[in-house]
Amino acid sequence: MTPRWRGRPDQTPDSHLFPTRPYDLVKEFVVAVAVLGVLTIGLAAVLSSPDHKAVSLQSWAVAAPADVVATATAELAGTSTSAGYGAPYNKASSGQQLGPLPLQRWGGVRIPVDSARDLVLEPLSSVTGDAGLSAALAQWNNAGADQRTGWASSYADALAAAPDGDPAQVKAGDYGPVPTLADRFLTLARSGGLEGLLTSAKTFYGSDETKPLLLLTDGAYLESQARADHLGGDQWGMMNETNNYPGQPWMWLYTFWYQIPPFSSSGNADALVWGLMAVLTLGFILIPWLPGLRSLPKYLGVHRLIWRAGATTAAR
């Protein structure tokens, strides 16, 4: 099939028919490597790079103990983000849809996570020598699902009503073993042992941080730290870096959609943005074959800044 340009067959001349001049490609490449090396090393020496230390579960517990208690309680109540997430972690919700397509649900539960059991109860079950904790775990395990949810939900409400969410200032109520479980969870996090229990309890080599990151993102502390560093989702966060370093500015278009309606207010924002970006990306790759778009540069005229008038006539 003959390629077409501006509605007619592609009349681009053979580049070999034009007058030539000497051009040293190897020299150009070597000079480019040298210049880019100087720029790279110079920028690294002058500007360095950011390294904001990771938030450990221990540092979280020390800095925001009330948030750890509230998060553990939400996991037990089944009201945390991860507990109600849907695929790939559980079936608690149908997840996001792209129009009529439930892509998230179609992905399936491939990384099963029971937030109450995996993020809170199993780590607590590994603690020994604490009779109060053992009794609380036994009480929890022997209760029915509704009873457990009732205790945890009541305690979550009480925490939310307490000044600064302080567990010590929670009003008395029927919370079952939940206050004890949440308190011991805080103690475990403070000890520094919680990360290992979430990543390498079943394997010596823990290189998968799925569970501790789900726990951390269920809390409010990580986001508060991120927002303070202009990394929030509505702050163009995905393309920013900590401090004032350039992050991933090449992701500006992806991040842009999250800042404007309908994406900024949609419960399916992620699926919609990904769907839109998939279409735009495909269009970007296929520009040479898209009528109209492939002719656009001709009319924009920017090419006249690149090619001077004398260069547009092929040799005869």
Binding site: T20, A32, Q96, Q104, P288, H303, W307
Partner: protein, 245 residues
Amino acid sequence: MLNRDRQQGSWTVGLRERLSRTVPPGQVLPDRQPAYVASWIYVFGVATLAAFLWIIASGTVLVLKGATWWHTSSIGHFVNSTHLWSVELFFFCMVVHLWGKFFMAAWRGRRGLTWATGAVAFIGSIGTAFTGYLSQTNFDSQWIAGQAKDGLNSVGVGAEFNVLNTGQMLLWHVMLLPLVVGVLIVLHVILVRRHGVVPPIDAELPAAPPLDAPLREPVAQREPLAPAQPDGRAGTPARPDRVTT
């Protein structure tokens, strides 16, 4: 007879001839370019390649020393800084190169695949850089992973590409994606060398020379890759005295 048998049966000869058809001798590293190749915009392609080399070099040092070395060593931090800035320069050069090629409509003259391989390499580079940010093992990694998982999960691929799994992301970053981007870059450069630098948009179509017209200089062999003309005529033989790109 022997020669024909050898050519028909030899995989080596077949491969050599295939490679020669892809990028004919003289096209791989020509020492001349069309006169219209005279703008600073042309240096951004090779500058992108140069930045890519610095990314690989600094990344190799980080690989040799381990994923968390740069947190505890001042030298490691400096190497990480060179990795970061070489990536920033790589994308800067690549984006300028990309826009330049867009404004040139550089896909003309059967160069669509050249554009497509470059575009896919750009997208692959974004993925590679993204996994790098996930592999920093610091606060930025934690936050980006927590945010990015929602996008990937929303379209059902979060389990295959689990951004919360640092081990998986690190391997994608240091092995799989650089390999893919590297192969795409090689293909892109081969296509550039095969087709030559796209002529100006307003360049006039040269008239086909008469078949008995003398060439400027005696030649031993005609250029095998001259493209067919739009009207369906046989391709105008490129003249070896002008085979430059």
